[in-house]
Symmetry: C2
Subunit: 224 residues, 2 copies
Amino acid sequence: MKAATSQNAVAGQSLADRLYETLRAEIVEGRIAAGSKISEPELARRFEASRGSLREALMRLEALGLLERRVNVGARVVDLSERGLLELYDVREALEGMACRLAATQRTDADLAELRRMLEHHEQQEELRAGTAYFQPEGDFDFHFRIVQASGNDLLIDTLCNRLYYRVRMYRYQLGMASPRAQRAFREHSHIIEAIEAGDGDLAELLMRRHIRASRQNIENKLR
Amino acid sequence: MKAATSQNAVAGQSLADRLYETLRAEIVEGRIAAGSKISEPELARRFEASRGSLREALMRLEALGLLERRVNVGARVVDLSERGLLELYDVREALEGMACRLAATQRTDADLAELRRMLEHHEQQEELRAGTAYFQPEGDFDFHFRIVQASGNDLLIDTLCNRLYYRVRMYRYQLGMASPRAQRAFREHSHIIEAIEAGDGDLAELLMRRHIRASRQNIENKLR
DNA sequence: TGGCGCAAGATTGTCGACAATCTGGATGTG
DNA sequence: CACATCCAGATTGTCGACAATCTTGCGCCA
């Protein structure tokens, strides 16, 4: 093993990789404001990297849909909008519905056991927090995340977990969309697992789509 | 207006943009073989560009899902597989189904007129080619393409028309999946348009999903 | 003879500099 | 006073070179 040449070197990761991950987190969490302009020289100085490596990171962020770049003008962080959030829900409804359908027939026993374990964990947390509790967003999302991975469709997994995932988190962080539908969401998750366990793809898809549509409706009501 | 500095300069396009588009076409059409390794120095010499600009094009191709890159190893064109093709159909079924549902309520009159025009055009072509005809792939895809754009959901449009589009075309070119379901596909398209015109989102989605699933089934039968 | 280690060549990652282009403010004119 | 023009500064796009890493083929040893 060689010693790391830079301070934060990780095996199998390039400098551009680390810049990409760091910037991604800063954009998702709003430390770099939505809609703000990105200055390549400024960021390069801040991270003590060359503009080339930084540009590689920026291009990956553009591919993720977190940045928009225009030739000879530069990059801007995407704007968050009510419309964009609702669009995200429609795409999730379609893709996670399909993921759920596939998971009903493609899941392994390990997938199912893991889903049950997560559900139990959520139930305990809910009991602790009693009535004031809201479904912690990360836990909810992990649940969805896990179902997608049980679908066995690599393209679907990549699209949801690598492409849309960070956009969802960005909206949650910055528009604070923690859905306060604790018991209801818990029951819906529970029914979805049952359908998956029964191998009923039609029902599993239907339930997941309803679940996501209910979230969307909940947001829509809040917004007006 | 300034004179172009390079031979093929286009306004509002960078060199990396052009390399990206050229390479994308070569990969989609199989001129650069699926699964083959990409040599940065070789391609840079071939296009008389620097490695930097070429690398930018390669990174965009990676974001498109046409290349896979590993750190310190290089880039390879993705492999085409039966499994990958079927995965693509499942994702399309979910997304185009949703696009169809949205188009039923979001379409403009211009969208509808354009869809009808395309359908008529297809009908004429089919009459000309009589029985031996097969539904020309590009025409079929343009139809799907147009419906997606009528959905009004920018995220959905981008995902299907910028991300998955080229992967679909790559499979069509290289595995030659021209579906020989001419009359049937034509009738299905016709019914889809009617559902969209009637504003019946449920039906429009159902019909589109059946349509795509039938294509998938057709491919699946052929493969065994 | 088969397998391991090592060195040479080639490839990828990173960097700093130069050229082309855009942005914003000052200036002049109707 | 409004508007078009132009210039200066800054930013982005492109390039060639150097350093780090991987691959390949050879030699050596059990």
